[in-house]
Symmetry: C2
Subunit: 231 residues, 2 copies
């Protein structure tokens, strides 16, 4: 029943690729970095950023390579989400693709984009995507929605220093909900994981907000495993 591993060489003509769903946050919108497809048969459609995995390259390394090549950034939050391997998903042959999402501070990128065909698109107004990329994107967005509620990863989308308003708008954009401002504040401040930097916003046409940063070290010490059954 189990295929003999020796037969591998004969069995397979397939490739493994990685696709990165790179999220950014800007003007109160969650955005994704996409590139105009250069395939003839996909004229006018857009594509996630991906590439074939080299024979002696780790999957993660391939994903980081794509990310670095496209954004110029290193040390970025990234997580594997799922693998898409439908037989006919790709026109040139069987390409099994491993999807990752990553969270970047959009401000650090805007100027370093390597390619004019690269652009940020709001998650609420996506263009048409090639192949199954819409499905991949949706899956990654769902995972982000889930993870952002369970772990403090959202901060990767914000500048080092941020206001509570920015943080709230981030959650609202990701989860597509409206949150009560006072309750949101209370919640976050009571977790006692935000460090008050004693600084304020500048150049805003209204009362400037205090700036905070997230205390990752402290978080690491007090995270709890069991959350309780709730579905």
């Amino acid at each position: 029943m189990q295929t003999h591993l020796q037969e591998i060489k004969h069995h397979f003509k397939l490739a493994v690729s990685v696709d990165c769903v790179i999220f950014g946050f800007n003007h109160d919108e969650l955005k994704v970095l996409l590139i105009e497809s250069d395939l003839k048969e996909c004229k006018g459609k857009y594509s996630l950023l991906g590439d074939i995995v080299c024979p002696d390259e780790e999957l993660e390394d391939a994903a980081y390579r794509v990310l670095k090549a496209r954004t110029g950034l290193d040390h970025v939050f990234m997580e594997q989400v799922q693998t898409f391997g439908a037989v006919k998903r790709h026109p040139v042959g069987r390409v099994v693709t491993v999807a990752y999402y990553s969270l970047v501070n959009i401000a650090r990128i805007e100027r370093t984009l390597s390619d004019l065909r690269l652009n940020w698109y709001p998650i609420k107004a996506l263009p048409e995507l090639v192949f199954d990329h819409a499905q991949i994107l949706e899956m990654c967005h769902n995972r982000l929605k889930q993870q952002v509620q369970l772990q403090p990863i959202g901060f990767n989308l914000l500048p080092r220093k941020f206001s509570l308003r920015e943080l709230q708008h981030l959650y609202e954009a990701i989860l597509d909900v409206e949150l009560d401002r006072r309750n949101f504040r209370k919640k976050f401040l009571s977790m006692d994981l935000l460090m008050d930097l004693n600084e304020e916003e500048a150049d805003v046409p209204h009362r400037p907000a205090r700036l905070y940063k997230f205390d990752f070290d402290k978080y690491e010490q007090c995270k709890k495993p069991y959350l309780g059954i709730g579905f």
Copy 2:
């Protein structure tokens, strides 16, 4: 920068496989179905159940094929977890494996096992595993821990009719925690998703418990998306 897809054929000599972490629940223990490895170099070690994905086979289908071949079961809960593709993870060459976990009612299987080398092992007392299978298993167990708190999937591990004690012990085994019996009951009964079957356990050496089944239809109607930030 982006590899031309035309070059795929030349680039790759690799295989894609699936590995199934099949969970069962028995005697208040969470167990995994493993097989004694038949590779010489892995004498005495155990392996997850997996196989190479055929060229024109969907990933899911491959995983179901393995499951069906090993357990005789169909229509089983299964979810993709993660893909493991370390360059040197497999001795015969590059094998990228997509890991799934599934939840089966162990009682339905015990007699239909296809192979004497197949056995259930408690998650708390695992034998030594081949390659990176320990890592894969751990990942799948973590995912199960997470999902079981967010969705009513645990019921797949129980008989159609179950008592609240069985349900509680299931959660305790999966999450490796102790739960208060009264609070657990209250919680589940207040969700109002358990249908009281007006039946009782039989052949137990103590007061028999009522039996319930889970009302999946009702659940589908009232599930809520936003749970609240809590990390």
